[in-house]
């Protein structure tokens, strides 16, 4: 299909609520990544899935953040008990099955999360 698809494009929530963000990778891409971009900052790595391997969760900022991915398809990033500092653009990327040396990440348009 087309590129990486993310939904919703915008999400406004109240502090303390849970939110779910969705990412549809490019068809055939085995690797999927979540990044966060706070205002005025660069992208910050959150989590990485590669096929059936255990995900690399080293970038998750707290236990309120979790992500799932079933096989090589859709991924959901969940933020529980949202805080105002969670406000950011959450970006998803995917990459095809190739050696790491040639791996390019393709990004979605992101979900802009605003916590009031």
């Amino acid at each position: 299909g087309a590129g990486v698809s993310q939904s919703p494009s915008n999400k406004v929530t109240e502090k303390g609520k849970d939110v779910e963000l969705r990412c549809d990778p490019i068809s055939g891409h085995t690797a999927l990544y979540w990044y966060r971009q706070r205002l005025g900052q660069g992208l910050e790595f959150l989590i990485y899935f590669q096929g059936n391997s255990a995900p690399d969760k080293s970038g998750l900022p707290s236990d309120r953040f979790s992500a799932e991915r079933t096989g090589e398809s859709v991924s959901t990033l969940t933020i529980q008990r949202t805080q105002q500092e969670d406000s950011a653009v959450y970006l998803c990327a995917s990459s095809p099955r190739r050696t790491l040396a040639k791996n390019i990440q393709y990004f979605g348009a992101g979900t802009r999360l605003s916590v009031l």
């Binding site: 660069g42 690399d56 970006l91 790491l100 990440q105 990004f107 992101g110």
Partner: protein, 114 residues
């Protein structure tokens, strides 16, 4: 931990001016280097990449970047910018010892005036 520095946060140029955006990284091992661009209202797109070989790499729309290992730098250049180059530019690095994640700089907002 690896880090990426982009020292120019905002750059304003007139059309036809030359562009150089700085990017420095901190990692002593083998790296892959990238420049991504985000045009207004659009998603991040790959501008160019360095994996190995010739340290001078050419990307889309007349952009190029030079990898200087001794300086830990990967500066982006374009001889003559156009109004349509107005965008935010991000440098990113992936280290072979850092898994598959990208570490990004904070970005440079480029505005090209007519």
């Amino acid at each position: 931990a690896q880090s990426v520095s982009q020292h120019n946060h905002h750059v304003i140029l007139s059309e036809a001016a030359s562009l150089e955006l700085g990017c420095n990284y901190s990692y002593g091992g083998t790296v892959n280097l990238f420049w991504y661009v985000q045009y207004p209202g659009q998603h991040l797109q790959l501008l160019l990449k360095y994996f190995s070989g010739d340290p001078l790499v050419k990307g889309i729309k007349g952009f190029e970047a030079e990898f200087i290992k001794s300086k830990f730098s990967f500066n982006l250049r374009k001889p003559s910018v156009q109004w349509s180059d107005t965008a935010e530019y991000f440098c990113a690095v992936r280290s072979t010892g850092g898994g598959n994640k990208l570490t990004f700089g904070t970005g440079t907002q480029l505005k090209v005036e007519l």
